[in-house]
Symmetry: C3
Subunit: 322 residues, 3 copies
């Protein structure tokens, strides 16, 4: 595996889930694979879970880790070709990327959507420059449109908690938030659920339709309460307008309707569903204290599985290097 951005990059999801279970039993089983190898983790944006879990995953595999925080204020990268660089940008990514790649074997990149230029975001301009110019395996640690390490951890968590012998109903529900957020998490969650053995229902106010690239022909239900009926898993997340049905509103907040906050009211309609969220979460905005603190809340084991998903991904990349 040379790139990790989409569910299909793992080729076989079931096999990946078995590898995840194996690593969870024995974290350091593949420690020999990373010997004399280095992964560089490049953060263009803040991170807590990803920063910690990916470092831990790398060390599980015996990889050396170098963390690079790109302070955008101090060190701006030029991305356009042909520019006379006499302004505030002191380095072009055409140099910066191959240089970074010189000192490592695998590169992880975190870069958020700008939420102003849909085309730039959905063509993953920054991440793809790393893929094109680094000559090294590159994995997304959340990029403009996708957060595959999160979605893979979510799937591992569902696999661990699903009722045996039943195809679970999984609801991805939009919830309000005071700031405009990217679509990376819901995009990847939808994509991975479609690739897995679950029934996905997506619910959100009108205008929040996700890109078909990720959500395919998943059932969309605009009535949140109806979507929650008989759900086994409820996955809450805010996202800003994806610009699919309302192109001019890309990246904007279309609703702050507090009735979409996930509370005991909606959860009562489910089959005693597990509650999930990628974190960080704003309590009593996205979800009530009562629901997130209930015994059915999976937010902590879900975050803990970020170590497992990252370990599987790095293991695959190391194995592909031979």
């Amino acid at each position: 595996m040379n790139t990790f951005l989409h569910a299909k990059d793992l080729t076989n999801i079931d096999l990946a889930l078995r590898e995840a279970a194996e690593i969870k039993q024995e974290r350091y089983k593949y420690e020999h694979l990373g010997r004399h190898r280095t992964t560089l983790l490049v953060f263009f944006n803040n991170s807590l879970r990803t920063r910690l879990s990916t470092q831990k995953a790398a060390r599980n595999l015996g990889l050396d880790v170098i963390v690079l925080d790109v302070n955008q204020g101090a060190w701006k990268l030029e991305t356009e070709r042909g520019v006379v660089m006499d302004g505030d940008k002191s380095e072009h990514l055409l140099e910066a990327i191959p240089v970074m790649a010189s000192f490592c074997d695998i590169i992880g990149v975190r870069t958020f959507a700008g939420l102003t230029d849909r085309h730039a975001d959905y063509t993953e301009q920054i991440l793809n420059q790393f893929i094109l110019h680094s000559g090294k395996p590159v994995f997304s640690m959340e990029s403009a449109t996708a957060h595959p390490l999160q979605a893979f951890a979510d799937l591992i968590t569902i696999e661990e908690h699903r009722e045996k012998g039943r195809r679970p109903k999984v609801v991805l529900t939009w919830a309000p938030h005071p700031r405009a957020l990217p679509q990376a998490v819901p995009n990847s969650f939808a994509e991975w659920m479609l690739a897995a053995d679950v029934d996905l229902v997506v619910t959100h106010p009108e205008g929040y339709e996700l890109d078909p690239l990720f959500v395919g022909d998943a059932r969309v239900e605009y009535d949140q309460m109806r979507a929650f009926e008989d759900a086994d898993f409820v996955y809450a997340k805010n996202w800003s307008c994806p610009g699919v049905t309302r192109p001019d509103d890309y990246g904007k907040i279309l609703s702050t309707d507090p009735s979409w906050t996930v509370t005991a009211r909606q959860m009562a309609a489910t089959r005693d569903a597990h509650f999930m969220h990628c974190l960080p979460v704003r309590r009593n905005v996205i979800v009530s204290d009562e629901v997130i603190e209930s015994p059915r809340s999976l937010v902590i084991p879900e975050a803990a599985n970020r170590e497992i998903s990252a370990t599987v991904v790095l293991k695959r990349m190391l194995e592909a290097m031979g």
Copy 2:
């Protein structure tokens, strides 16, 4: 040992001092203990000595280290329950702490006193949330009211330089400083000296009385020159009003009297005492150049012993894990 905040957490101070001496002879003797284990060092506040010495101590024990600088501007944690999180705080510590704990085996926390709410500081609100919610061993890398790794290093240093066969007189003296500082260092120093085989005298202007929780019934002498008489060790430190005798002045500067600056004048009253300070120190405010540069100054070996105290503490935590 599951928590490290107070001298009593080490159970047996003499044994701990013997372990310190052993580790100082052979830094990597217990390197096998940390194999396949990770310590997370969480800094809510700046640090130089603690940052470097604790990383080194962890590596002495074969531990992997992950350093997390919590930039309070960018990543504010909500600490109150029941709040509608629609403001500037994007994550609640009820999630953040168990998540951090998921990726490590031992957690170190640095968090300074706010110096406005005495109750919040003296109940160690942040540190105790880590102890309560992490499910992992937690050690203070200086918290609101205590700096036990410093006090343990101080004690190791005194042990190394004391005159054999004599119970040393140790003077903790307040000294002026242009900014209001926490009481963590003098609190822990007093506590550890009371637990050790030394005679402690505390000297400071009126109003600076330390909390009895730490200072017990140690002798307090308001006349600095009298306190210094026949001292074997002089430990200088500034602190702000502890709010014990003057509750309304908690965290305030009550005096900037330059006559309290430690100079050759006071040192002349001692038994050629060693001079100590935890650093960083403001020269010619806390102590004169002459005293800090004298052959009796222990400030550098004292700082170097921070590696030793941290190694003993992490060793104890690893041993307790089995």
Copy 3:
């Protein structure tokens, strides 16, 4: 080797080049040397290549690495003696340096020229305090007047690409830049070329004469086109006024003449020369896209050799420790 600032610190350049070639073939050959040893990398200024390549080099040698970013805003060091430290500086380097040194075996320091006080810069005030007060081997990761890890990497790169049996003509050319930059890179490049088996020509507008300490009696040619004739290697770099012929203009921009930008026009005069630059580079200010992207451009392999030069230097320091 106890200090690394100048070419002569390596004693024998040819031997060092052979060691570089050996390490490039087998990065981890000397991994045993760094066992149970730690290098501290202290950054007073920003860094990309140096930060990554030096970490990688240290790990090649089995060294533990601690990176310290000295945020000058938050943690100002007093450097003058005898000062009453009641201002914004909370620690004196007379304490800070030996403390840092306590927790490591080798110290790397990055500190840029201030470009206002020529004497302070050219006496390497910060770096020399580390050499004087740390008691540990100290290497420059670019200091006020020199960037020896860069120059050594440049020389390795020239060695790899030179025509066998021919003494290459190497041109160091000034080029314009919108900000005033230090002379560290051209100083060290000139010094190392003079120590190597090459013909050096330096070209720049009048007033940009480099310090004889570094440039010796190298040929200076004020006509850039004439300098480029028959060149085998072209090394472009901006620098501010070194204050040699114009002492009052130290650190200033004397010219922004765009005719000095390296383009195909100048390269046509060469013997199909290789193009070199230390990076980061401003495209179409220092060099045209066409030249930097040409097959003769060595900027990426040159940056990659930073790992090799740092590995040789750290290896030498470890060997000297016995």
